[in-house]
């Protein structure tokens, strides 16, 4: 349901990135991902929520109910210090991986 491991890892990384500037609620996180990835990553928006909860369970996200600017109750997610470390490590891994893959895909036959 959550897609391949590649997908899961990517989604997790994007979620962590989305909250790296401060607490956001689920809808805002989804919207940020949609906006910045031209809707290429998220096919079903609902998939976001199991991922958020999983990251919360792992101690990378903290959850807190709060009130939005429009006065509505929403659950906010923020990055924990463990989460920040994870974000840093995953970012590094991702860029290494993606550059390696793109290098391979653009190379000519040896």
């Amino acid at each position: 349901m959550a897609g391949s491991d590649l997908f899961t890892g990517t989604l997790d990384l994007l979620i962590l990135k989305a909250v790296s500037w401060g607490p956001r609620h689920g809808y805002a996180i989804g919207r940020w991902i949609r906006d910045t990835t031209s809707e290429d990553v998220i096919v079903q928006e609902g998939v976001l929520y199991p991922a958020l909860h999983r990251l919360g369970r792992r101690g990378w996200l903290a959850e807190q109910w709060g009130v939005t600017d429009t006065g509505r109750e929403a659950k906010y997610y923020s990055l924990t210090s463990d989460g920040r470390g994870q974000l840093r490590a995953e970012t590094k891994r991702w860029s290494r991986f993606s550059s390696a893959v793109s290098k391979a895909l653009t190379s000519s036959p040896a």
Partner: protein, 899 residues
Amino acid sequence: MRRIIRRSDLRDDSARDVSDELRFHLEMRTQEFIERGMSPEDARRAAARAFGDMGAIDAALRHESVLRDRYRARRDRLHEMVADIRFALRTLRKNAGFTAATLATLALGIGAATAVFTVVNGVLLRPLPYRDPSRLLMVWMSSKQYGEELPLSSGFYSDLAAGTTAMAQTAAFRSWRYTFAPSNASDAEQVEGARVTPSFFDVLGIRPAIGRPFNEADAAVGAPPVVILSDALWRRAAGGDRAVVGRQLEMSGQRFTVIGVMPPGFSFPRGAELPAGLAFGARTQLWTPMGFTEKDRQSYATQNMAAIARLRPGASAPQFHTTITSILERWRLAVAPKLDLHYSVATLIEQAGEHVRRGLLFLLAAVGLLLCIAWANVTSLLVARTTRRRREFAVRAALGAGRARIAAQLVTENVILALAGSMLGLAISIWATRAMLALVPGSMPRADDIAIDWRVMLAVSAAALVAGIAFGLAASTQAGFAHVASSLRDGTRSATGRHSTFGRRALVVAEVALSLMLLIGASLLTVSFARLQRVEPGFDPSHVMTAAVGLPVPGEFNPKRDGAEWARFFRGLQDRLSQSPGVEAAGGVSALPLADAVESGSTSTIGEPPPIPGKAHFTEYLVTEGDYFRAMRISLLGGRTFNGTDVAGSQPVVIVNREYARKYLGGTATALTHQIRVFSDFSGGRDARSVVGVVDNVQSGALDGPVQPQVYLPEQQMNYPGLAVVVRTRDDPTAALTLVRQQMKETDPRAALDHPRTMQRVFDESLARQRFSMTLITVFAVAALVLAMIGLYGVISLMVNNRRREIGVRMALGARTADVLRMILAEGAMIAAVGVAVGLVGAFALSRLVSTLLYGVSPTSVAIYTSAALLTVLVTTAATLAPARRATRVDPTVALRSD
């Protein structure tokens, strides 16, 4: 973002939480679509479509929430436990007095019990370090006249071995000392060895770690001499070099080829496990082969070897005993029908523990009592503490702590106490085990088999854990938070109803009783020990240095060949020693009193009809040289001691002791007119010897042994290759050791010296086992008494506290200080009296257990029972005194106002 607190932050309500979250998402998304110009209806549909498969996402979320709940529960439990432990440590630290008392009591009880059990385990219970040790039997001979556990002769052994091959494999062995210089640089020393038949290592089931065991060819007459070394001797003499096999060693003037090295720890036969008469060293260090010639197989007279048998599968000890008995019976009918000799067998493990079993079991019982007292004290301390904390529990219950939470808290506290106490106890036990063994150097059988057993450690820790949990649960039922309201209202007063004080009093009564029993046991052993120490040994041990000095005996023991040389050596050594400065007198003896195994044999009086077999004059016989009697200050009662004229070729002479003279020669006065014949005399011809002197009796075997007839023969007329040299000095006797060493070397450089010590130490070491039992039980008794004191003090203190109001009322109504004091003391005296009564009955009931350990004191001695009871009463009264005095200082106005 403004923070709000939702119910889900406090308590798990994840289902509602999730649905709220998803609803918020959908509404926001719908809003987004509306803003893009969709109708609300279309926008909602679009939002749902964008969200995706609701069913699948819902399932994923549910799965996630299950995982999360599980994780949270685990984290909460961990937090709770950490909090419990923290709180317990804080509470224990705050009540330092209680904690210290409990820990000390637990550590003492567990430490002492574990140490004693470790020794009992090693000596009596653990299997011996040989293959299948339960099938090993020791074979002895016994006789009504000569006693039990007698060695066999080569003739008896050969018959037995030949007749039992179907049911057992047998081996014979005897002690043999070798003079041996471990290296070129060091002096020759005497090494404890054993000569063994080739089957010896097979019977024990232990093979050499390096090299090979003996075979029949090694034991044949004229075979080149070979030796097997112990691991310890191999390391000392060959530096642990594995290439030692095949190398030659010079021992006792002969060259032996090393053919093997035994594994570490193997040192059978070990002296403390076998009858002293066989004269084995504490650990055998080397083995040489022993074979029998046809003549040896026919020789029944000289009983000098031990026999061991391994039963074959299917054979039993009684069956083996029956078989060897019938072999002996056949021989007896043919050769000596009236001879009073029988076979006895004992399993090796019985043999090893036999002499100490009773003493050790007694100590085990004693330490068991101590452990009971410790338990009683700890229980009583914990119960008292719980009752005192009732208000605390009530407050916590009122604040919402569940029964389970408080129970968990109590269990945590008690488990920490129990575990810490047992760890301390185990540490103490390791130290105490060593200290115990140091009390009995060399005389505790199987001392090498005593080791801290991890199974014992594990059992102790597990028991402590279970006890901690049990105490915690018991205390939590006592905590009384079921009646929160009444506990809070009544404060501490109601916390000590009749019920719990009765329990505590019963515990203290038991403590007093048990400690009195221990005190009586300790007093009995102490008095017995004092009596033993005052036994007149027949010699004066002060200012005497002694050491075993011997010449090497190459090959067989042959006095005819070498005797003159031995006599010359000892005469020369004595002459040099007695002329040395600081030496008052010097001499030598074949068996040192209270230390060495003395030889025994028969004598007859010249002029009387030859003794009928079994009625010969049985006596201990000793060979002396020089001024032995003066050096040991053995009183001369009549006649003279040996002098320079008593040499080979002159009139054969003998000196007898008072007991011999009384028993066989009609008293000291008439003894000097007689001549006697000593049958074990190998000097030549068994000449008639004139009795030239009568000396006082000497306790040769043990201080509590019977007085035996003794005869002394001069070295010059009956040659021995090894004597214990004794030197009486004017000052410090230990200084004489260098002198003896030096004079010995100068007299004959081949001579070796061994076992140097003062005679005072010989005397003290002969009492080592008694001192061991006495010291331990005294320590236990004192510890028990202190614990009982603490227990009684606790009970009375608590009682005084509980009755403050009552005492206040009494004092307000005109009771005087003395009345109050009397009232409290009476309470303590009651408990003590009941305890003493129970203790006296208990001690009397157990008196039979201790009777065999005592010398010169009755196990039911009225004087000891009375004084121990008085001491107990005194000590317990002292324990009640402090709380009683506190009671008299109760201020009625304060007591009445307070809760």
